[in-house]
């Protein structure tokens, strides 16, 4: 018997009509980048995540990058995160100009150990990433049929900053 690690086709078949209709309507509207379909999804996702603002973007890596840039990270600023994650988490801190400070995980939950964070805070620490941006990589719990990602926040200024970074500074973020 063949058992896949993840079977994305099995899920698709249970919601085929909805997905096919969604794709057809994007193509019929020629609304390929941003637009009403993206706004409707952002609104629904912010509601589901219980946040006031949402900025969707190309992928989870960019979501991290955009959120870190919008925080106003300066060269040499430190960001604490865990070493038990995908490379995007640390890569985006470096690419936003910051320095990665690793903190170990709780061996039971595999997530960042809050008890160990304090010892790593220095005057240069500007943030902690306990993994809260979203990737909609196909294999994720909420997965697209290609790369996609998003940021949610309750901070008005951060949401505005994310909107600028995401669209080459041309657009701002819609608020609920």
């Amino acid at each position: 018997m063949k058992v896949s690690l993840v079977d994305l086709r099995a899920q698709y078949l249970t919601i085929k009509d909805e997905i096919d209709a969604a794709i057809s309507s994007v193509i019929a509207d020629s609304a390929y980048i941003g637009g009403a379909h993206v706004e409707a999804f952002e609104r629904a996702w912010a509601k589901a995540a219980g946040a006031r603002h949402r900025v969707s973007c190309t992928n989870g890596t960019d979501a991290l990058m955009i959120a870190t840039c919008a925080l106003g990270l300066r060269r040499g600023d430190e960001v604490i995160t865990t070493g038990h994650t995908w490379i995007s988490t640390s890569a985006m801190i470096t690419q936003a100009g910051g320095r990665v400070v690793f903190c170990d995980v709780d061996p039971m939950t595999f997530t960042i150990d809050p008890a160990q964070i304090e010892a790593r805070i220095t005057p240069r620490t500007v943030g902690i990433i306990p993994i809260a941006t979203f990737s909609y990589y196909p294999g994720k719990n909420l997965g697209a049929y290609g790369d996609a990602g998003g940021i949610t926040t309750n901070d008005d200024r951060l949401a505005e900053g994310c909107g600028h970074v995401e669209s080459c500074g041309v657009a701002a973020v819609a608020s609920s």
């Binding site: 079977d7 994305l8 086709r9 698709y12 096919d20 794709i23 994007v26 193509i27 020629s30 390929y32 980048i33 190309t58 992928n59 989870g60 890596t61 960019d62 995908w86 490379i87 995007s88 640390s90 890569a91 470096t94 690419q95 990589y137 196909p138 697209a144 049929y145 290609g146 790369d147 080459c168 500074g169």
Partner: protein, 384 residues
């Protein structure tokens, strides 16, 4: 089977067979050895720069008359940008300005062929000519200067899928994307070859550059979870590759239709007055007319009047890069690049796509000529 069914069938949503097949055929279309599909034209530029050897602290010279992605990619590669002005007729890099920059706005760096930018203090390691509106830059003298000063040449071919340039050095026609060290293409939906979302590609003949771009687009992974370097998430989705592959078969025909439409505009406008600057196509250039751009003095007024008649137009681009707010800290001033500034104040992109109808073009030209004729006495008075 539809593209979407094919993707589901392979269960490879990102990268995979459909991406490879598209890459092979797009490389063949561009007459290059390699094509690396990525997430956008911006990523293509960034990856091409880094893979071609641009390092943090280097300087890269380009034109100030382009979309902001050109300079964003340079900054994101960790480099500084410098500008040289455009040729006012073609809106692409003026090779004489490039020569003057390398000679006068840079200093020699010891025995090396490389020069150092006086403005940034950084060694100049690459040049990005932008093939704007579907027409290639004047590449022969740019390539000669690049060889002389040891610069990588990254073509910004984001608007030039299939454009051609007659290289006198080689005595043959060369396709956009095949003449530099590497080139960046965008497949933004409105491009001559457009996806149904974000997409882009790097083309190159250099195997090392291609390998570098493949690493950079996928988090620096040489094998699953083995990260040789830090990279980015810049992969091409299979669904985009599938759509692009289907559309690629039609691209030559679509480019011909754009050429026909450009010729028709040229003829329709030929009878008009001299207030309009038509696109200039030098000998040895075969553009693919991504945009049909005219120059006109009262551009914004004309644009509003056309909009009131239902005619959509665009401005590519209203603010030259050196005067963008984002670059205020660089202390550029109005007057630094007069040809780019003059163009930014005058350019107007008219409706242009393969399926544009002759009667639509006649309507557009008539509307423009009527407006120009009615403003002609005012123009004469201004000149008097």
């Amino acid at each position: 089977m539809s593209v979407f069914e094919l993707v589901l069938d392979t269960n490879q949503f990102i990268g995979g067979r459909m991406v490879q097949e598209f890459e092979e055929d797009f490389a063949a279309f561009c007459e290059t050895r390699f094509c690396v599909g990525v997430n956008s034209g911006t990523d293509a530029l960034r990856f091409a720069l880094v893979a071609a050897g641009v390092r943090p602290g280097d300087a890269v010279v380009t034109v100030p008359f382009s979309f902001v992605a050109t300079t964003e990619a340079i900054s994101q590669a960790g480099a500084q940008f410098d500008f040289v002005d455009i040729d006012p007729r073609t809106y692409t890099m003026d090779p004489e300005k490039l020569s003057a920059y390398l000679d006068g706005r840079c200093t020699r760096n010891g025995q090396s062929r490389r020069v150092v930018s006086k403005r940034t203090g950084s060694p100049v390691t690459a040049v990005i000519p932008v093939h704007l509106y579907g027409q290639m830059a004047n590449m022969d003298p740019i390539l000669e200067l690049a060889a002389q000063y040891d610069l990588a040449v990254i073509e910004d071919a984001c608007q030039a899928h299939g454009a051609e340039y007659f290289s006198k050095r080689e005595n043959r026609w060369r396709r956009a994307g095949s003449i530099g060290t590497a080139a960046a293409f965008s497949f933004y939906p409105s491009k001559n070859l457009g996806g149904c979302g974000e997409a882009g590609a790097v083309t190159t003949d250099d195997e090392k550059v291609a390998r570098g771009c493949r690493l950079l687009r996928d988090h620096g992974q040489s094998a699953k979870y083995v990260h040789a370097i830090e990279g980015y998430n810049g992969r091409l989705d299979a669904i985009q590759a599938g759509v692009l592959h289907k559309k690629l078969r039609h691209l030559a025909k679509w480019n011909d239709q754009r050429r026909d439409n450009a010729n028709r505009y040229d003829e329709l406008f030929a009878a008009g007055n001299g207030a309009l600057t038509l696109p200039y196509v030098p000998a040895g250039s075969r553009p693919v007319h991504h945009l049909y751009v005219v120059g006109v003095a009262n551009r914004d007024g004309l644009r509003a009047e056309l909009a009131s008649e239902g005619i959509e137009t665009g401005i590519h681009y209203p603010i030259p890069l050196h005067l963008l707010e984002a670059y205020a800290t660089h202390a550029f001033r109005p007057g630094d690049f007069p040809a780019a500034e003059h163009a930014a104040a005058r350019v107007l992109s008219l409706p242009m796509f393969p399926e544009l109808l002759p009667e639509q073009q006649a309507f557009v030209t008539k509307a423009i000529q009527a407006r120009l004729a009615s403003s002609e006495p005012a123009r004469r008075r201004e000149q008097a």
